[in-house]
Symmetry: C2
Subunit: 142 residues, 2 copies
């Protein structure tokens, strides 16, 4: 898979699975929805921590990122025909977005991709992942 | 979601996303296929490291587990209707299976679930995850 195709799939993916590391050094992984924004040569993934479920699994990721900002997420599609399998992984640094311009941009990108994020204002924390490395794998590609 | 239902979904899931922690403390996440075996009150997930692609992302997980045996994986389904979202996470300890009886049992369970694992013998490493904690989330469940 070319780097361009890996990027295209990252942009289009509806869901990813995000891994962080807990304070005690154990891994944490949950599904998340995100939007990709490319600014010059930078590529960032933005996601928003839902307001409503103030429950630990959602907030755990933010706590983890504050302790250890190293994050990785994967997108893929599963098929019972394993010749069709592929994945794209993105690794980088997570940070809570505080600047209002960047927050507005992230909400714009998320609203563009997911109708659920349009309209009503969101008070939840926005998190940016500054992507530093993208790797990809495709079945049968060697 | 009841614990019984979470277990049922773990057993049925065709794919999971497995997080480990690298030697440098950063998270690593990739899709994987696995089979669940319940023995008495123990619940284990087994997966096999493919022979063919002796490439770093596949072997990385084993290296990571040998350094830090703490692992977590998540199963979920994505729908654009977010009221249908759910996930089940399983956390535990990973270990390479050396005993021949346990290896045979794992291959039996994997072959039962995935036709690709039937017939031809596998020389790849089998990894067990001894599951210590299962947590689940369902949209709208509070």
């Amino acid at each position: 898979m070319t780097p361009e195709e890996a990027r295209r799939r990252l942009v289009r993916a509806r869901v990813g699975r995000l891994a962080t590391v807990r304070r005690d050094g154990s891994p944490h992984v949950v599904p998340f929805v995100f939007a990709i924004v490319e600014i010059g040569s930078e590529i960032r993934a933005y996601w928003i921590v839902d307001d409503k479920p103030k429950r630990s699994p959602f907030l755990r990721r933010i706590e983890n990122i504050e302790t250890n900002p190293s994050v990785e997420f994967v997108i893929d599609e599963y098929w019972d025909d394993w010749d069709r399998l592929w994945w794209v992984r993105a690794s980088g640094t997570g940070r809570v977005v505080h600047a209002s311009n960047e927050r507005a941009m992230a909400l714009e990108a998320l609203g563009e991709k997911y109708p659920q994020y349009r309209g009503s204002p969101h008070s939840g924390a926005v998190v940016a992942i500054d992507i530093e490395r993208i790797s990809a794998w495709e079945a049968g590609a060697g």
